[in-house]
């Protein structure tokens, strides 16, 4: 069965510092991987997704993620964060369906 683990429930970071949000998944078959962002009092919106091809995926707002099949990971990175990046970030996986399994989320808090 699919599952997604986001080990860090909270990540505090100063503005302009780099950040990495970790995501590991378990699945016995090929998967599609997603990162969604949720700003306060809003719904989730897609940051980026990996379907196939290049393992380095670039998304909106300067974020990127790298698919690592051997490590079953899909970590999200940004080289320099901004105050406006403060939000909840969700990793998700699907196994050849349109259903998503979400992780528990990581709260990114950017301090000035």
């Amino acid at each position: 069965a699919q599952s997604v683990t986001q080990l860090d429930s909270q990540v505090p970071v100063f503005e302009e510092a780099p950040v990495e949000l970790r995501c590991n998944y378990s699945s016995s078959v090929s998967v599609y991987l997603f990162w969604y962002v949720q700003y306060p009092n809003q719904g989730l919106q897609l940051l980026l997704k990996y379907l196939s091809g290049s393992t380095l995926v670039k998304g909106i707002n300067g974020f990127e993620a790298e698919f690592n099949k051997s490590q079953t990971s899909f970590h999200l990175r940004k080289p320099s964060v901004h105050i406006s990046d403060t939000a909840e970030y969700f990793c998700a996986v699907s196994e050849n369906t349109d259903k998503l399994i979400f992780g528990t989320g990581t709260r990114l808090q950017v301090f000035p």
Partner: protein, 114 residues
């Protein structure tokens, strides 16, 4: 700018009352998902429709929750009777029935049951 809409945005009700939440998916999308978000459980999938037919509602408490799509432009989630433990934010999302497709989320309905 096409987007998923949900009404009401906020709902406060008393235990035992019926609650109906509505969702208008993006025009042309044929899959609709209902999620519940709480601090304790995170984001849970309650129900999933494709072409208005329910495909999976295994995440939904059957005795009090029901989900329907009366037509392609309206999805409803009903709780009867409501209980304090139903307090949560309920999200609707829509998409196309293609593996790997993006789900587009509405702004959510914040439900408080007193």
């Amino acid at each position: 700018d096409a987007r998923v809409t949900q009404t009401p945005r906020d709902k406060v009700t008393e235990m035992g009352q019926e609650v109906t939440m509505r969702c208008q998916p993006i025009l042309g999308h044929n899959t609709v998902f209902w999620y519940r978000q709480t601090m304790m459980q995170g984001l849970e999938l309650l129900a999933y429709f494709r072409n208005r037919a329910p495909l999976d509602d295994s995440g939904m408490p059957k005795d009090r929750f029901s989900a329907e799509m009366p037509d392609a432009t309206l999805a409803t989630l009903k709780i009867q009777p409501s209980e304090p433990r139903d307090s949560a934010v309920y999200f609707c999302a829509s998409g196309l029935d293609t593996s790997g497709d993006t789900q587009y989320f509405g702004p959510g309905t914040r439900l408080t049951v007193l």
